[in-house]
Protein backbone atom coordinates (compact mmCIF):
# COMPACT_ATOMS: atom_id res chain seq x y z
CA UNK A 1 0.00 0.00 0.00
CA UNK A 2 1.08 3.55 -0.53
CA UNK A 3 2.48 5.78 2.19
CA UNK A 4 0.21 7.44 4.71
CA UNK A 5 -1.91 9.97 2.91
CA UNK A 6 -4.38 12.60 3.99
CA UNK A 7 -6.56 15.03 2.14
CA UNK A 8 -8.51 17.94 3.44
CA UNK A 9 -10.88 19.91 1.31
CA UNK A 10 -13.84 22.23 1.68
CA UNK A 11 -16.77 21.63 -0.61
CA UNK A 12 -19.83 23.63 -1.47
CA UNK A 13 -22.50 22.03 0.62
CA UNK A 14 -25.16 21.22 -1.92
CA UNK A 15 -26.53 17.85 -2.87
CA UNK A 16 -25.29 18.34 -6.42
CA UNK A 17 -21.66 18.34 -5.25
CA UNK A 18 -21.94 15.02 -3.45
CA UNK A 19 -21.09 13.09 -6.61
CA UNK A 20 -18.00 15.21 -7.28
CA UNK A 21 -16.79 14.72 -3.73
CA UNK A 22 -17.27 10.96 -3.99
CA UNK A 23 -15.32 10.91 -7.24
CA UNK A 24 -12.44 12.81 -5.66
CA UNK A 25 -12.34 10.59 -2.59
CA UNK A 26 -12.61 7.40 -4.67
CA UNK A 27 -9.66 8.50 -6.81
CA UNK A 28 -7.60 9.35 -3.76
CA UNK A 29 -8.28 6.01 -2.06
CA UNK A 30 -7.67 4.02 -5.24
CA UNK A 31 -4.32 5.76 -5.60
CA UNK A 32 -3.55 4.65 -2.06
CA UNK A 33 -4.32 1.04 -3.07
CA UNK A 34 -7.42 0.74 -0.90
CA UNK A 35 -9.55 -2.17 -2.12
CA UNK A 36 -12.78 -1.54 -4.03
CA UNK A 37 -15.18 -2.87 -1.38
CA UNK A 38 -13.67 -0.57 1.25
CA UNK A 39 -13.83 2.36 -1.13
CA UNK A 40 -17.52 1.66 -1.76
CA UNK A 41 -18.15 1.57 1.98
CA UNK A 42 -16.20 4.79 2.44
CA UNK A 43 -18.23 6.54 -0.26
CA UNK A 44 -21.46 5.46 1.38
CA UNK A 45 -20.31 6.75 4.78
CA UNK A 46 -19.15 9.99 3.18
CA UNK A 47 -22.45 10.50 1.38
CA UNK A 48 -24.51 9.93 4.52
CA UNK A 49 -22.39 12.30 6.60
CA UNK A 50 -22.25 14.92 3.87
CA UNK A 51 -26.02 14.90 3.28
CA UNK A 52 -26.54 15.14 7.02
CA UNK A 53 -24.28 18.17 7.20
CA UNK A 54 -25.98 19.88 4.27
CA UNK A 55 -29.41 19.18 5.68
CA UNK A 56 -28.75 20.30 9.25
CA UNK A 57 -25.77 22.64 9.00
CA UNK A 58 -26.07 26.41 9.12
CA UNK A 59 -23.64 27.43 6.42
CA UNK A 60 -23.95 24.79 3.68
CA UNK A 61 -20.19 24.47 3.53
CA UNK A 62 -19.25 21.22 5.23
CA UNK A 63 -15.57 20.41 5.59
CA UNK A 64 -14.80 16.90 4.46
CA UNK A 65 -11.61 15.24 5.68
CA UNK A 66 -10.57 11.82 4.49
CA UNK A 67 -7.49 10.14 5.93
CA UNK A 68 -5.88 6.85 5.22
CA UNK A 69 -3.17 5.34 7.37
CA UNK A 70 -1.76 2.11 5.96
CA UNK A 71 0.87 1.77 8.67
CA UNK A 72 0.65 -0.66 11.55
CA UNK A 73 -1.06 -4.02 11.75
CA UNK A 74 -4.54 -2.62 11.27
CA UNK A 75 -4.67 -0.07 8.47
CA UNK A 76 -7.46 2.43 8.98
CA UNK A 77 -9.39 4.92 6.98
CA UNK A 78 -11.25 7.79 8.54
CA UNK A 79 -13.82 10.19 7.23
CA UNK A 80 -15.02 13.25 9.06
CA UNK A 81 -17.49 15.91 8.06
CA UNK A 82 -17.71 19.20 9.91
CA UNK A 83 -20.46 21.75 9.53
CA UNK A 84 -21.44 24.94 11.30
CA UNK A 85 -24.34 24.35 13.64
CA UNK A 86 -25.21 23.08 17.08
CA UNK A 87 -24.00 19.56 17.85
CA UNK A 88 -27.22 19.08 19.82
CA UNK A 89 -29.02 18.68 16.48
CA UNK A 90 -27.38 15.28 16.06
CA UNK A 91 -29.72 12.61 17.43
CA UNK A 92 -28.44 10.56 20.34
CA UNK A 93 -27.01 7.20 19.33
CA UNK A 94 -30.04 5.32 20.66
CA UNK A 95 -32.14 7.13 18.05
CA UNK A 96 -29.95 6.33 15.04
CA UNK A 97 -31.78 3.15 14.09
CA UNK A 98 -35.40 3.73 13.02
CA UNK A 99 -37.89 1.69 15.03
CA UNK A 100 -39.77 0.86 11.83
CA UNK A 101 -37.56 -1.23 9.52
CA UNK A 102 -39.41 0.28 6.55
CA UNK A 103 -39.15 3.88 7.77
CA UNK A 104 -38.58 6.25 4.89
CA UNK A 105 -36.03 8.47 6.61
CA UNK A 106 -33.70 8.72 9.58
CA UNK A 107 -31.52 5.86 8.44
CA UNK A 108 -28.27 7.67 7.55
CA UNK A 109 -26.40 7.51 10.83
CA UNK A 110 -27.38 3.89 11.41
CA UNK A 111 -25.77 3.06 8.06
CA UNK A 112 -22.60 4.89 9.09
CA UNK A 113 -22.65 3.09 12.42
CA UNK A 114 -23.06 -0.31 10.75
CA UNK A 115 -20.08 0.20 8.46
CA UNK A 116 -17.65 2.02 10.71
CA UNK A 117 -15.78 0.50 13.61
CA UNK A 118 -15.84 3.79 15.50
CA UNK A 119 -18.18 6.77 15.12
CA UNK A 120 -17.67 9.90 17.20
CA UNK A 121 -19.74 13.06 17.42
CA UNK A 122 -17.99 16.19 18.66
CA UNK A 123 -18.72 19.87 18.71
CA UNK A 124 -20.40 22.71 20.49
CA UNK A 125 -23.18 25.20 19.80
CA UNK A 126 -21.41 26.50 16.71
CA UNK A 127 -19.86 23.46 15.08
CA UNK A 128 -20.50 19.75 14.62
CA UNK A 129 -18.06 17.07 13.53
CA UNK A 130 -18.97 13.44 12.93
CA UNK A 131 -16.03 11.15 12.37
CA UNK A 132 -16.15 7.54 11.22
CA UNK A 133 -13.26 5.10 11.22
CA UNK A 134 -13.25 2.06 8.93
CA UNK A 135 -11.07 -1.00 8.93
CA UNK A 136 -9.16 -1.59 5.72
CA UNK A 137 -8.72 -5.18 4.63
Amino acid sequence: MAATSRTERTFDGHYSTSGAIRAAVAAHLAEADVDRATIDDALLVLSELFDNAVRYGDDNRPVVVVGFDPSGEDPTLHISVTNRGDVARVPSRSEWLPADPLALSGRGLSIVDAIATIVTVDGDRDQTTIRAELDVS
Partner: protein, 102 residues
Protein backbone atom coordinates in the same frame (compact mmCIF):
# COMPACT_ATOMS: atom_id res chain seq x y z
CA UNK B 1 -10.97 16.46 -10.73
CA UNK B 2 -13.97 17.77 -12.58
CA UNK B 3 -16.67 18.91 -10.20
CA UNK B 4 -19.48 17.04 -11.90
CA UNK B 5 -22.79 16.17 -10.31
CA UNK B 6 -23.88 12.58 -9.93
CA UNK B 7 -25.90 11.18 -12.80
CA UNK B 8 -28.70 8.67 -13.10
CA UNK B 9 -30.10 7.32 -16.34
CA UNK B 10 -33.52 5.71 -16.21
CA UNK B 11 -34.66 3.63 -19.14
CA UNK B 12 -38.24 2.46 -19.32
CA UNK B 13 -37.92 -0.97 -20.91
CA UNK B 14 -41.64 -1.63 -20.91
CA UNK B 15 -44.59 -0.77 -18.73
CA UNK B 16 -43.48 -1.22 -15.15
CA UNK B 17 -39.90 -2.17 -15.97
CA UNK B 18 -37.23 0.43 -15.30
CA UNK B 19 -33.51 -0.02 -15.84
CA UNK B 20 -31.35 2.24 -13.69
CA UNK B 21 -27.78 3.20 -14.52
CA UNK B 22 -25.55 5.44 -12.44
CA UNK B 23 -25.80 6.95 -8.98
CA UNK B 24 -28.90 7.24 -6.82
CA UNK B 25 -28.24 9.87 -4.17
CA UNK B 26 -29.87 13.01 -2.81
CA UNK B 27 -29.22 14.77 -6.10
CA UNK B 28 -30.76 12.14 -8.38
CA UNK B 29 -33.36 10.52 -6.11
CA UNK B 30 -36.01 12.93 -7.37
CA UNK B 31 -35.58 11.56 -10.90
CA UNK B 32 -36.28 8.06 -9.70
CA UNK B 33 -39.22 9.23 -7.62
CA UNK B 34 -40.78 10.92 -10.63
CA UNK B 35 -40.24 7.85 -12.82
CA UNK B 36 -41.85 5.58 -10.25
CA UNK B 37 -44.81 7.90 -9.80
CA UNK B 38 -45.28 7.70 -13.54
CA UNK B 39 -45.86 3.95 -13.42
CA UNK B 40 -49.54 3.15 -13.35
CA UNK B 41 -51.65 0.00 -13.20
CA UNK B 42 -48.97 -2.68 -13.46
CA UNK B 43 -49.22 -5.26 -10.70
CA UNK B 44 -45.45 -5.61 -10.58
CA UNK B 45 -42.92 -2.84 -10.94
CA UNK B 46 -39.39 -4.02 -11.68
CA UNK B 47 -36.28 -1.99 -10.94
CA UNK B 48 -33.28 -3.39 -12.77
CA UNK B 49 -30.38 -2.30 -10.58
CA UNK B 50 -27.42 -4.26 -11.96
CA UNK B 51 -25.81 -1.06 -13.22
CA UNK B 52 -26.39 1.10 -10.17
CA UNK B 53 -22.93 2.32 -9.16
CA UNK B 54 -24.00 4.08 -5.99
CA UNK B 55 -27.00 4.02 -3.68
CA UNK B 56 -27.43 5.76 -0.34
CA UNK B 57 -30.28 6.36 2.09
CA UNK B 58 -31.74 9.12 -0.09
CA UNK B 59 -32.19 6.66 -2.92
CA UNK B 60 -33.35 3.96 -0.57
CA UNK B 61 -36.07 6.30 0.71
CA UNK B 62 -37.53 6.54 -2.81
CA UNK B 63 -37.42 2.77 -3.31
CA UNK B 64 -39.12 2.20 0.04
CA UNK B 65 -41.76 4.84 -0.62
CA UNK B 66 -42.63 3.12 -3.90
CA UNK B 67 -42.66 -0.26 -2.18
CA UNK B 68 -45.11 1.02 0.42
CA UNK B 69 -47.31 2.85 -2.06
CA UNK B 70 -47.58 -0.16 -4.34
CA UNK B 71 -48.20 -2.55 -1.46
CA UNK B 72 -51.12 -0.44 -0.30
CA UNK B 73 -52.73 -1.16 -3.69
CA UNK B 74 -51.89 -4.86 -3.59
CA UNK B 75 -49.07 -4.37 -6.07
CA UNK B 76 -45.40 -5.16 -5.70
CA UNK B 77 -42.00 -3.59 -6.24
CA UNK B 78 -39.26 -5.99 -7.34
CA UNK B 79 -35.56 -5.23 -7.22
CA UNK B 80 -33.95 -7.11 -10.10
CA UNK B 81 -30.29 -8.09 -10.20
CA UNK B 82 -29.00 -5.60 -7.64
CA UNK B 83 -25.39 -4.54 -8.07
CA UNK B 84 -22.87 -5.17 -5.30
CA UNK B 85 -23.35 -1.70 -3.78
CA UNK B 86 -27.13 -2.12 -3.80
CA UNK B 87 -26.87 -5.56 -2.22
CA UNK B 88 -24.47 -4.20 0.39
CA UNK B 89 -26.86 -1.41 1.42
CA UNK B 90 -29.85 -3.75 1.53
CA UNK B 91 -27.86 -6.09 3.79
CA UNK B 92 -26.64 -3.29 6.07
CA UNK B 93 -30.17 -1.99 6.54
CA UNK B 94 -31.79 -5.41 6.82
CA UNK B 95 -34.12 -4.52 3.96
CA UNK B 96 -33.27 -7.63 1.97
CA UNK B 97 -35.82 -9.33 4.24
CA UNK B 98 -38.55 -6.82 3.39
CA UNK B 99 -38.15 -6.29 -0.32
CA UNK B 100 -38.60 -8.79 -3.12
CA UNK B 101 -35.21 -9.26 -4.74
CA UNK B 102 -34.65 -11.40 -7.83
Amino acid sequence: MTASASRLDIEVQSAGVLTLRGDIDAHTAGQLEAALLDVHDEDEVHLHMAEVAFLDSSGLRVVLAAHRRLAEDGRELIVDRPSDVVTRLLEITGLQDHLRIE
